[in-house]
Amino acid sequence: MSSSNKVFAAIGEFSTVKEIWHACEKVRDSEFTKWDAHTPFPVHGLEHAMGMGRSRLPFFVFAMGITGAAGAFALQSWISTTAYPIIIAAKPYFSWQAFIPVTFEVMVLFSAGSAVLGMLFLNRLPRWWNPLLESETFKQVTNNKFIISIEASDPKFDPDETQEFLRSLGASKVELVEE
């Protein structure tokens, strides 16, 4: 770890949910914007403690579901009545009842696909290159530790002050992560 490397972020480690919860409330009230709380599991309500609202994902998924259903129904109708009208068991070309199952299934496909892809998009994932992931301290976040990270790109960031700030929140361990 040569010191010539750029500092990427400062991280502070906490041991319990309660600790990080209170720490988050404090960071929220500070002026930092580029910061995050990392937990091994979703801590319910922590995003509120961090001052975030609800995810916008459902609107996107809903729109895509409607698109899928409408598209599937339209495709089936177009094929059966216009592109390739053939007499099947003397039934009407536009046998809409028979198109329902596929319409439904495609709706689910579009919704589910957009839920996952939308989530990845909103999270800007995948993001394989991330200096945090190389930190031995940070690695504990996927096991049993709770970490608050404040990125160096934050305008208020100062390596020393920020570390001090994290310590003041009760972090048991604080370090700088370099690129």
């Binding site: 770890m1 490397n5 053939i86 007499i87 990845l120 994932l125 995948p126 993001r127 394989w128 290159w129 200096p131 992931l133 190389e134 370099e178 690129e179």
Partner: protein
């Protein structure tokens, strides 16, 4: 600090998000075109055993198609003429030409001339020339300007979709039955309207169901 993944990998998702849909569309369209007779078959121009020129016979000399393909009006096949048809003239005309040696040989031995097939449908598709000629579909609609081809090549894809296009909307391809073999006739230019043709006794009603061609 050493990283497991280099920094550029963070751009991969964007690339994939843009690239994969494009690739998908490209594959479908690619298969649609490059695996289709439009690409694989149109323009097929094999070398024939006898350098027979349609451009010369049908074009320049103005021979009617039916002189050789004489079964076209009453049979499914527009039969390739027997050697004897060639020899009707070539017994006298260019009787010693080098190019015609195979024809003469066939006439003497009775062995057929092995023409290479160009307009080829799968064995499960049944095309009937008499039905089309009788309905006033010109030779040129499927075979192109044979009268301008030195050696015949495949002008149309003869795919099912191509057949269906005309079967669903035959009017633009119809002409007076008397003009069927007229390669230069253009029904649009001539302002032809099949519904006003007094020689037509019935509506042209080509089949669009499976058993029309597959049986």
């Amino acid at each position: 600090m050493t990283h497991m993944f280099p920094r550029w990998t963070n751009h991969l998702p964007t690339a994939v998000a843009v690239g994969v849909p494009l690739l998908g569309v490209a594959v479908v369209l690619g298969v649609y075109y490059f695996f289709s007779p439009y690409y694989t078959d149109v323009g097929y121009e094999p070398t024939q055993p006898v350098p027979y020129s349609h451009a010369l016979h049908a074009g320049e000399m103005g021979m009617d198609c039916r002189y050789c393909h004489n079964t076209v009006e009453y049979a499914a096949h527009a039969a390739v003429p027997p050697t004897s048809t060639c020899l009707n003239c070539h017994k006298y005309v260019k009787a010693n030409s080098e190019k015609l040696s195979l024809v003469r040989q066939s006439g003497e031995t009775g062995e057929p001339i092995p023409w290479v097939k160009i307009h080829q449908l799968p064995d499960y598709a049944y095309f009937n020339h008499s039905a089309h000629v009788g309905a006033g579909v010109g030779c040129v609609s499927c075979h192109g300007r044979v009268d301008q081809m030195e050696e015949v090549w495949l002008h149309e894809p003869l795919s099912m979709g191509w057949c269906l296009d005309c079967h669903r909307n035959p009017e633009p391809h119809l002409r007076p039955v008397s003009e069927v073999t007229n390669m230069a006739y253009d029904p649009v230019a001539a302002g032809y309207d099949p519904s006003e043709d007094p020689n037509r006794t019935r509506e042209v009603n080509p089949p669009v169901h499976c058993a029309g061609c597959h049986r």
